[in-house]
Symmetry: C2
Subunit: 187 residues, 2 copies
């Protein structure tokens, strides 16, 4: 073993990219967020860590709703722009066309391949971030991104952030079946 | 716009794959976890949602430590096996060679390209999951996975779970620079 100790400042993995939407001061705003994940299966909860300095956080807390939008690689410039510029300094309401679902206050970006509107369930206060936990109330997708009734990652072509390399990457080829590849090791 | 409403049971995105390590009843145990993320930059916090039914959870709570290990694609069978079989039914302590860092009770898998040992900071109780928030206390990597002092995703070749497709995929080509591609849209 040749493990060396490196900086403990970060977890290194490919971070999935999203745009988190919220109405702030009555206007839709979208923030690039790569620190999010599913959190619970039933009911379906998501979690997203958002720096307290972000303009978007106030909208999430005021409306108690937010959206998670998954953009395709072709939206990389607009997605990156939403992480470079604060909604407090520039009006980002026109970057994407907005639609609303049943929650009525969670703006979703039409151009993004998959959209989920969420009801805020809990906010966990961390040193620099607010961790928003939300329940998915509605999910939306265009027919062209769907295969066998579910959103197809091959059609969506999502982005992954390689944070240390400051690079967005795409999804690569299939490797092996999940809940399958390991069966040969079962006794 | 041709958005259709689909099942609101899940968020669809490429989920990064990890093995979470904990000592349970004095033995190292590794669980496949794709619902995790960075949570705070300073101090560096991670968060991971783990179903309450999992054997590993008791070890995290007992020791107040756990590890996050990022496997390369070549470990796909062992990684999948750790998600198929509970440590309560099979002894998974021999699936990987284990090493320990400064926390002494967070087992890390030698074969995994990147390892982080974490001190449990907070546990959030969700309906079916426990959300563990931990501070990274130490990080380890082999020299062969490092470029310019940081772990290189191109050398690590990590796995992404496409949950609806029940498939593990690899990382694809670079698309555009992060904190760069969107600059042309700034006024």
């Amino acid at each position: 073993m040749e493990k060396i100790e490196i900086g403990a400042d970060r977890l290194h993995y490919p971070m999935p990219c999203s745009l988190i939407g919220a109405n702030v001061d009555g206007r839709p705003n979208y923030l690039t967020v790569a620190w999010f994940s599913m959190a619970n299966p039933k009911p379906p909860y998501v979690m997203a860590a958002m720096n307290k300095s972000h303009y978007t956080n106030a909208g999430v807390k005021a409306n108690k709703t937010f959206s998670i939008n998954i953009p395709s690689a072709e939206l990389v410039e607009k997605m990156d722009y939403c992480g470079l510029v604060s909604g407090g300094r520039a009006d980002k309401s026109g970057v994407f066309e907005t639609f609303y679902g049943k929650l009525e206050t969670a703006p979703m970006a039409v151009e993004c391949a998959f959209n989920a509107e969420c009801r805020l369930v809990q906010t966990v206060n961390l040193p620099m971030e607010e961790l928003f936990i939300g329940e998915i109330a509605g999910a939306y997708c265009e027919e062209r991104y769907i295969t066998n009734g579910v959103p197809d990652m091959r059609k969506i072509n999502p982005l992954l952030l390689l944070m240390a390399q400051k690079m967005y990457a795409s999804l690569g080829p299939d490797v092996a079946p999940a809940w399958g590849a390991g069966k040969k090791l079962m006794k």
